[in-house]
């Protein structure tokens, strides 16, 4: 877990950090150690995901590839940093490195006119659900990212997607939160961490691996 940047102030976390300039190098040394710990943390966290999710990743990739072969589009959504991760997921599916096959993929937090209109008129909790109601078709793929697993608009979108017969893929952190409740999503990938940053870093890897496996199935390699 993080040792810096948590509530309590740095004096509590780094009691030896006197503000005298001579101690600057001690600060640097301590922050280098903290950075090395974070690198080790994310390496270990990603490794732990193999045992937790390998089989589900394969099954999910096969289902997604079958959906894309049948003409599915992918919709990805999340809030804040996770909205940018959703954008990145849509980007790698729609504009992958050569020579991978591009498939239709749309991030749902990128259209500011739509997002502000829905927030203003209907409420923020429905910004993704309403878009899926308008755009989603049976057999499409909905990918929702929430580090807590509890974002109302992501959960509402998952419910709307399920009702409409979309394939639902959810990414959460901690213990999965409400997203882990029975029947919320078809394929759930929980990153067992309490650091929002490490969760996001591991979630983007899960999405990249899912993309890679989907490509392998699409090309007949798997």
């Amino acid at each position: 877990m993080s040792t810096v940047g948590e509530p309590g102030g740095i004096e509590a976390l780094y009691p030896f950090l006197a503000p005298a300039p001579a101690d600057r190098e001690a600060v640097v040394a301590d922050l280098c150690a903290s950075t090395r710990r974070k690198a080790a943390e994310i390496v270990a966290l990603r490794r732990s995901l193999v045992a937790l999710h390998a089989e589900r990743l394969v099954t999910c990739a096969r289902a997604m590839a079958a959906a894309f072969d049948a003409g599915a589009r992918l919709f990805a959504f999340g809030n804040g940093g996770s909205s940018t991760d959703a954008q990145a997921v849509a980007q790698v599916f729609a504009a992958p490195p050569e020579p991978a096959r591009a498939v239709a993929a749309v991030p749902l937090a990128q259209d500011v006119a739509l997002l502000t209109a829905l927030s203003n008129d209907v409420g923020y909790d429905l910004v993704f659900a309403r878009q899926l109601a308008a755009l989603g078709r049976r057999g499409d793929v909905a990918v929702g990212l929430s580090t807590s697993g509890g974002s109302a608009n992501v959960l509402n979108a998952m419910a709307e997607a399920s009702r409409r017969g979309l394939l639902t893929v959810g990414l959460a952190g901690y213990d999965g939160g409400p997203m882990a409740q029975e029947g919320r999503v078809a394929y759930l990938f929980v990153v067992p961490s309490v650091s929002v940053h490490r969760i996001q870093e591991a979630q983007i890897t899960l999405c990249h691996v899912l993309w890679e496996l989907t490509q392998r199935v699409l090309t007949g390699e798997m």
Partner: protein
């Protein structure tokens, strides 16, 4: 899709239920493909630890700029567009309650401005042109490039240097970037480079705050 997938696939999907029975790979070899994919991340992610001092020095300089009233301007192309916005939201809206918001803007969110500039300066001139309009010399320019030749980011960093900004580049693969601080992910795979960048900018954010608060107690 004949059946509602939400009814046929639960969170605990059996490994022996592949969608396509005629698939060439056995479940075991498919699972080992997953394991290989994760293992390819280990070296580049671990290497962040080896670059710790470079990262810390960048944070030290960035915190000084914030302390002097500077703002952070972030940009990238392709997949790095999302990262530019992710960096801006980390700084402007901290995930940890009680951390001060620091001024940060992504240059990748306004298609009207971007395509307007591109009409006269070309796509590779979009960030440089925006920096000339928005930047002050005490600001920080952070350019992200996940591999491949990214002229737009290079031009942005060059314009920022001319204007006197502190420049930070997150690069990967064989990217050559000129900046005060170059943090390179050690991979040729643009997806892995991106993952390393996410960890790097999360750490940048966190350590900038440590230095920022340290300055405050002086």
């Amino acid at each position: 899709m004949g059946e509602d997938p939400t009814l046929t696939a639960g969170p605990t999907v059996s490994p022996a239920s592949p969608a396509s029975p005629a698939s060439p790979a056995s479940p075991a070899s498919a699972v080992s493909a997953v394991s290989d994919a994760f293992e390819r991340r280990t070296g580049p992610a671990g290497a962040i630890g080896e670059d710790a001092e470079r990262i810390v020095r960048a944070c030290q300089d960035m915190a000084e700029r914030f302390r002097a009233g500077g703002k952070l301007l972030v940009f990238g192309t392709g997949g790095s567009v999302a990262d530019a916005q992710h960096v801006a939201v980390e700084f402007a809206h901290p995930v940890i309650v009680g951390k001060p918001a620091l001024p940060a803007l992504a240059l990748t969110t306004d298609m009207a401005v971007a395509t307007g500039i591109a009409r006269t300066q070309g796509l590779d001139g979009v960030f440089a042109a925006q920096l000339r309009l928005l930047a002050s010399p005490r600001d920080i320019a952070l350019g992200l490039s996940a591999g491949g030749d990214c002229a737009g980011v290079r031009n942005g960093l060059a314009a920022a240097r001319e204007l006197g900004l502190l420049t930070v580049a997150l690069t990967g693969g064989r990217d050559a970037a000129e900046a005060d601080h170059v943090l390179a992910a050690r991979s040729d795979d643009p997806l892995i480079v991106k993952e390393v960048h996410v960890t790097m900018y999360h750490v940048l954010w966190e350590l900038v705050h440590v230095f920022h608060e340290l300055e405050a107690v002086r």
